[in-house]
């Protein structure tokens, strides 16, 4: 019982790290980026190869995945994404689906379509059990590690967003880019940095999640709907909204698959449609804004 809750939280935390970049991109530039999962996949594959080919330790690969995908994100933002911001949503959707398709086929071509595994170090493989009976809590060490890392990241992001000058610039730009630009904030630079960070976080999430979510070339399409659910339900105006939505989704998904396995992902989709029918702008939206 508690184990399911624990696994759900770990899963939700992972989804949060994967999707938070998407939430900021969408909130800041009103850009629907369906190729976000491709960055996560890049991070995952990078980790697998750095460990297998270069023999780097797992902990060293995580920052590497973050930095590499952040750089790739910055490059793509500069070259391909920027002309898209002013276009209608249909164009953005087509463009980013196209990117995702290319990423899927490209990885398939260079790496092959088989599932890749991350070899975890020994100290992350164990499992601790507390209590007994229905209240037994079994904690995989790796999931514990994920929760710790993701919680630290969430707190750090929240602090950056609320306590620093960059954070206040970012919030101003999300609320109204035109007025923010009029006040002398370089919205393009803010956005470049945010996009890079978001991509980097997706890459880090992909590296962390390769073990739990599975890593194969169809990753960007398979998890696209999950990222979008987090963003659509959580809203784009804060860190806490997507966090709560990701936790809700993670717990609902794990519990749904455990208690009613016949339904599969059915419960999650149904829940999402019902929530969006009830609150089309998302569950955790600040009043005001746009």
């Amino acid at each position: 019982m508690l184990t399911i809750l624990f696994d759900g939280i770990a899963y939700g935390m992972l989804l949060f790290v994967l999707a938070v970049g998407l939430a900021v991109t969408l909130g800041l530039m009103n850009f629907i980026n369906l190729a976000h999962g491709a960055f996560a996949m890049a991070g995952g594959y990078l980790t697998v190869f750095a460990m297998q080919k270069a023999g780097l330790p797992f902990l060293a690969c995580l920052p590497l995945a973050f930095v590499a995908t952040a750089l790739a994100g910055a490059l793509l933002e500069r070259t391909l994404y920027r002309p898209m911001y002013a276009k209608p949503h249909l164009d953005q959707v087509l463009f980013s689906i196209g990117l995702a398709f290319m990423a899927v086929a490209g990885v398939d071509y260079f790496v092959g379509s088989s599932q890749q595994n991350v070899h975890l170090p020994g100290w992350l493989r164990g499992r601790t059990e507390i209590g007994e009976g229905a209240l037994m809590l079994g904690m995989g060490h790796y999931r514990l590690f994920i929760i710790a890392v993701c919680a630290l990241l969430a707190v750090a992001l929240q602090l950056v967003l609320t306590r620093t000058r960059f954070g206040s610039r970012l919030r101003a730009a999300v609320d109204d880019p035109r007025v923010a630009a009029g006040l002398g904030i370089n919205v393009n630079a803010v956005f470049l940095l945010t996009f890079a960070t978001g991509s980097g976080l997706a890459g880090l999430g992909g590296a962390l999640g390769a073990e739990i979510l599975g890593l194969d070339p169809t990753f960007p399409l398979k998890y696209m709907i999950y990222f979008l659910i987090v963003v659509a339900v959580g809203g784009t105006s804060s860190i806490t909204g997507p966090l709560a939505a990701a936790l809700l989704l993670g717990i609902a998904d794990v519990a749904g698959k455990y208690f009613i396995p016949k339904m599969g992902a059915f419960t999650v989709y149904l829940l999402m449609i019902l929530i969006l029918l009830y609150r089309p702008q998302g569950l955790f939206v600040r009043r005001g804004g746009r």
Partner: protein
Amino acid sequence: MEYQSTLLRRARWRPWEFALWAAAFAVPLVFPSRALMVNEIAIVALFAMSLDLVLGYAGVVSLGHAAFFGFGAYTAALFAKHVMPDPAVGLAVAIVLSALLGALASLTILRGSDLTRLMVTLGTALLLLELANKLDWLTGGADGLQGVVMGPVLGRFEFDLYGQTAAWYSLAVMLLLFLLMRRLVHSPFGATLEAIRDNRLRAAAIGVPVVARLAVIYTVAAGIAGAAGALLAQTTGFASLDVLAFDRSADVLLMLVIGGVGWLYGGVAGAIVFKLLQDWLSSVTPQYWMFWIGLLLVLLVLVGRERLLRPWTWRRR
């Protein structure tokens, strides 16, 4: 009077339209080996036109239009297997049931932003896919629904191995539904849809019942998409999970965009280009078709999707 004639001019039949339809019906007779291809093109063209009603005329971005296509396909296949093998009755049943599903699903697209609509349309398609996968006693699950035997069309024309009957059957259904759609989009009703697409707030301000219009067009489009799905299931005698997959929604969106949005022949042109391209590319690189389609999408958007198939607009800026 003058204003009226400019409005009516758009609805007038052009000579090339007659030529196009005549050519379409002639191809299976002249090139019998291409009949299967014609059948496929007719089906996806019908599907793309139904999406055009929603996307091009009413401005609703949908990533889950395959929901209705797949629902129609499964309905027609199940109807033929368990109730009655007559194609025309099966087609009618599939259209009616898909339209009912569309009426129900139209509740989900009335509110919210583009992102919300994207999510609920995608969610609806995934919901149906999951359902078809899990109800394997009814749909055959991942193996697909097999053992569908179709009767002759109108009790006279048997489906043959080379697909000539299938091609004519699909073309005839497509023509009938096309006439209906053509009448619809050039009517005052169609004009109000375009008003909603261009500015929802102003449309509401001049008295257009926005919610009712969107619900009606979504229902009609769902029925027609269901018809396309039913044609696929009937002419191939098979329905599998593939008819509900995300790729199908993305493909039809691409077809429509290649041909041009907000123009019924856009769906036809896009379907022809897309199918020929797919045929050619998959004979060159069978595995990495997805890469080329992705590249095509990216280039299309970067160049400007309005211009690609209409060379006479290239000079204009």
